[in-house]
Symmetry: C2
Subunit: 120 residues, 2 copies
């Protein structure tokens, strides 16, 4: 498994020591949509451990190159499943140094492109 595959496996397993081993001590986690930032491994582990709800995740896509990577996961809580898009930067040892998470929500399509588009 590459580091992003391991990251999602330990999070789904609530394996917080396992997650700690993948992160740099000064890892930064950012949510651009809310402009929230969490600094440091301890705070980020707590954020994950305290996150409410009986959520489960499924990996849709992972792409990794030497400097980092990106994933598309699907998070399910009860009957609802939502996508999460995450971008990672790795340090020189392959640990995760920076995480950026996006949580896109449904919206209505704008008019004017019905001649090109089908709905699914």
């Amino acid at each position: 498994m590459n580091v992003i595959e391991r990251y999602w496996a330990v999070i789904e397993a609530r394996d917080w020591p396992g997650l700690a081993g993948l992160l740099t001590a000064d890892v930064v986690y950012e949510l651009p949509q809310t402009r929230e930032r969490i600094r440091g491994r301890e705070a980020y582990l707590r954020f994950n451990a305290e996150y409410p709800g009986d959520w489960h995740l499924r990996v849709e896509r992972i792409h990794v190159d030497p400097g980092g990577g990106a994933s598309w996961t699907a998070f399910t809580v009860g009957d609802e499943t939502v996508p999460a898009l995450t971008f990672f930067r790795l340090d020189g040892t392959g640990r995760i140094a920076h995480i950026t998470d996006f949580w896109p929500e449904p919206y209505d399509p704008p008019p004017g492109r019905e001649h090109l588009v089908e709905r699914y």
Copy 2:
């Protein structure tokens, strides 16, 4: 430049023949948030050529591996800049066969994590 770097360069340049050369004939483009789908290179080129507004894009991140990749771009129209997250699948010749686009919007942070989070 890798294929995703070329993709964004030709789109920013409105180089539609250049874009055509990067795509398979039966490329599929999907927007999960609106559940819109566009099938085929001709329709997808038209969708791009007809897209309204004097938009410009900047690449924030690109990660590519043999099967595909992901990008984070920032689109600016006038005073507004919004992120776009895009996942790509490539065919065996390196052409883009499938594109999935996400356009996340700002939202208010949920309560309960103020002890871990700073705002930026």
